[in-house]
Symmetry: C2
Subunit: 336 residues, 2 copies
């Protein structure tokens, strides 16, 4: 039991142990064919979600995940003090429009695919401090909106290179509260931006792995823990290749996480040739964490999990101007 609120190194401790009391998830048909299918609240049979554009479908998924999480917590939206959310679309329009429609005081956050853990960290910080009773943390992504914004129009039929990942169509949200039963948030490690000079925008796993290793190792040092203290170390969306790089980098720094590390991107699909390295996107860790992982925590199959979502902070403009890909990872420690 922790008795301390404050920061050691890059890790903020929450002595009042704010809790995740409920979650809500929505995922597309391709995603629901995989491991998350049994656990998501709403499985879509059509990834347009009855909307006219991919972007509107993405926003609707996010709204639906937030609303479902609040409803699963047995709350009304008027009881939620703050919504923390962001997404991959330019100017985080999915989060902003969802926040408009749900009408909860809104703090926009952005750390690409690390937005799920950043928003949980900030929500937990605000609840633990006693500022608010209830926060919702949420994010999502959509394969088709991400492809046309970051890469090529789908109509072009561009060949995917073998190191590429598949952006997840899905959204996840969780309710963080100072009351009720739930999964305790013990602390959060705020990441630094790490850039190893990777410039291949199709190789996000390799770009993000160093940031994830930096945050995870920092977390071990700050909390004086070792990999064996965790039932699961969950990275965000490094995919198969990035996951291997992460394990190598941690091993080099003296921490062997091979025995208990899993990557959301690696497990979300039954990896087939066309998905190459697995899933990516803010929705990847949002869906896996808020459905599959939280259910295992609730069932006490996992008792202590370190969740380190990972984000690549590039844009098409920065890549076009010859910049490498700066990446970040924020981690939260969860306990039953």
């Amino acid at each position: 039991m922790q008795t301390y609120s404050g920061m050691r190194g890059q890790t903020i401790y929450f002595k009042n142990l704010p809790k995740i009391i409920a979650s809500g998830t929505v995922a597309g048909p391709k995603e629901c064919a995989g491991i998350a299918g049994k656990y998501v609240d709403r499985a879509l049979c059509d990834d347009m979600f009855a909307e006219s554009t991919f972007e509107k479908a993405e926003c609707k998924m996010l709204y639906c995940a937030i609303e479902t999480a609040i409803s699963n917590a047995g709350l009304k939206k008027e009881c939620v003090d703050v919504l923390l959310s962001g997404d991959l679309l330019n100017q985080i329009i999915s989060a902003s429009f969802a926040a408009r429609d749900i009408a909860i005081p809104f703090l926009g956050v952005y750390s690409a695919c690390s937005t799920m853990s950043e928003s949980i960290a900030l929500g937990a910080a605000m609840v633990n401090a006693g500022y608010i009773h209830t926060a919702v943390a949420a994010t999502g992504s959509h394969f088709a909106s991400a492809e046309r914004q970051y890469r090529y129009p789908l109509e072009q039929g561009t060949t995917r290179p073998p190191q590429s990942q598949w952006t997840v169509t899905g959204a996840g949200a969780c309710v963080i509260s100072d009351a009720g039963d739930g999964i305790k948030i013990a602390n959060a490690t705020i990441g630094k931006v790490v850039d190893y000079g990777v410039t291949d925008v199709n190789n996000m796993g390799a770009a993000m792995a160093p940031a994830c290793a930096d945050t995870i190792v920092r977390h071990f040092k700050d909390t004086a823990t070792v990999p064996g203290d965790y039932d699961l170390i969950l990275s965000g969306d490094l995919g198969a290749l990035g996951g291997r790089i992460l394990k190598d980098l941690c091993f080099e720094k003296g921490y062997d996480i091979t025995g208990n590390h899993v990557d959301c991107g690696e497990i979300i699909y039954d990896v087939k040739p066309e998905e190459f390295q697995g899933g990516s996107g803010a929705g990847c860790s949002a869906v896996i964490f808020n459905s599959y992982i939280l259910s295992k925590l609730k069932a006490k199959i996992f008792k202590r999990v370190l969740f380190a979502a990972t984000g690549a902070l590039l844009s098409t403009v920065s890549s076009g101007q010859g910049e490498s890909i700066p990446c970040i990872s924020h981690a939260v420690q969860l306990e039953v």
Copy 2:
């Protein structure tokens, strides 16, 4: 003196009164010809800032503002626990790349031109809670990068409509600390997304004014204050037209702010025909607040200021898909 940390309505109170102990500002030549010229730390004679692209110049300004603020506080960057920053470019690349170069643990935030007050609010919340000792809040914008991302390439020479504003080339940062002398941050009001259905992307003032009015009126109600309790009510970048709409909307709701309201966008330029409604952009309130206004607070010419930066949460995609412009405003109350 406040003795309470917590939320009333949408307002979070900071009983430990975290302080702004220093700031740093950079502004372009056009901006420095106006009121901010005498107060900014670094006045640029060339808005390319010796970089090869507008986007790189924007990032360098933001980096420079952050570094100057830390230096003005008499600190080393290693002493700063968290950097909170965001900007208008897609995927907040200016903030992300600045965070990479300055290597401070980084929380990306986004609320368009309301990013300055959102980052101050979150920084103050973390310092007040005792999680951290020192945070830096920062944002910026660049006329040329914003024009080509949101509107038209400059080379096209598109005519500007009379209701348009001029995106400010500049950046501002402030250091929030639990120790030392400075301007106290008493509380922060977290805004809701407000959308009155404005679709004219050249009329940001009209789009944002309702969100600003909503937050300011909410602040008065939450804190049981009236406009006369403030020496200054400072809105972000509504411009001349938006400022008038804000005053009208507040008046309709029973609060007459005409006697002590000023808008950063309205005062940053000596309004000439080509600037139409004045300045806009995240850099607008960042520069005015962190230079001119903080210096007046330090000199005790103002003793109590309500700073409500204002953001339009649109993107070119949302507008292109026929959506109206959702807006937000976060407010922070400052005291000597």
